[in-house]
């Protein structure tokens, strides 16, 4: 069960980040030329590979309890940030993530920037693509390495991420447009729930607490986080409705 949960979490988290990276690379490629966009993508991939080669083996030598404490704390902080945004989006307090709108904005900015050539590539297109892939890729690496090492199986987490890469890159090459039909908001909600669940479980365990039922209690924590999130969405939706009604009355 935990293995399935691990692969699914890594897959979903990676897919969300890769969809965002794809949008940036597409905007860079269409506005500034594919040569600079692909050069940026390649350079970022090399930088990410170096980060994995440096961090991966280092994580495996840290004692598991210390690793779970640090990883659990970081995942919990990450998860709560994702979950907060997801709850705000689902309740209407924050605009939904719209890949088409982001693509249009990136494209317009890329088209209006001045052209500066360095080493035969357009510098704006290169840096836009490089930064986009590097930043989104760092999050993927963080999630895969921390999930994998804390659960004792980096290859399983990497398999989830690789599945996401094949799927997103394949569909991206096929449609050559931002993947607006991907249910990204729902996926972000699910990732927030999973990161928070693993974060609660590992940070408590790393701090020395023992879960009743051991690893099986992960399912209980998952159910708890899902119910809490849905309850918060419901409460905030009601609050927003009341605010809108009050504003209508005042107007």
């Amino acid at each position: 069960m935990n293995a399935t949960f691990l692969v699914l979490s890594a897959f979903l988290a990676s897919a969300v980040e890769m969809v965002e990276a794809l949008t940036i690379v597409l905007a860079a490629g269409l506005a500034r030329g594919w040569r600079s966009a692909l050069a940026g993508l390649g350079a970022a991939t090399v930088a990410l590979a170096v980060a994995v080669a440096a961090l991966g083996p280092a994580l495996t030598v840290i004692p598991l309890s210390a690793l779970r404490l640090v990883v659990g704390a970081l995942l919990l902080v990450f998860g709560l940030q994702w979950l907060r945004k997801a709850v705000l989006r689902a309740s209407g307090f924050k605009a939904l993530h719209d890949e088409d709108a982001i693509f249009a904005r990136e494209l317009a900015e890329a088209q209006s920037a001045a052209r500066v050539e360095r080493a035969g590539v357009d510098w704006y297109g290169f840096t836009l693509s490089f930064k986009g892939v590097l930043l989104e890729g760092l999050e993927v690496i963080f999630i895969v390495l921390t999930f994998g090492s804390a659960q004792g199986s980096i290859p399983l987490a990497a398999a989830g991420a690789a599945g996401a890469l094949v799927l997103v890159a394949g569909v991206g090459v096929a449609v050559r447009a931002p993947l607006a039909r991907v249910p990204e908001n729902a996926m972000k909600f699910a990732v927030g729930v999973m990161l928070t669940t693993f974060g609660i479980f590992w940070s408590a365990e790393g701090a020395g607490a023992h879960w009743p039922g051991s690893d099986a209690s992960l399912l209980g924590v998952l159910a708890f986080v899902v119910l809490l999130s849905l309850a918060l969405v419901r409460m905030l939706r009601r609050e927003r409705r009341l605010r809108l009604r009050a504003a209508e009355v005042r107007a």
């Binding site: 609660i200 020395g208 607490a209 924590v221 809490l228 918060l232």
Partner: protein, 66 residues
């Protein structure tokens, strides 16, 4: 110096994000869990409870900010 500052800024944004209070409350909750666990008291319930508080406080702050 400028590069160092932007490097620090990047990691702050990457880890802490929009609400520093989340990090502070999570650190407090983990510390309290460790203190309870090392005193021999069951402490597994504390982190889920802390998450309810942290998420609620952080959401209230985000809604108030608009």
């Amino acid at each position: 110096m400028r590069h160092l500052r932007s490097f620090g800024r990047f990691w702050w944004d990457f880890v802490v994000g929009d609400d520093w209070l989340v990090v502070a409350l999570v650190a407090l909750a983990i510390g309290a869990t460790a203190a309870l666990a090392h005193s021999g008291i069951a402490a597994w319930w504390l982190m889920p409870l802390a998450v309810v508080l942290v998420l609620w406080v952080s959401l209230r702050r985000a809604v108030a900010r608009g």
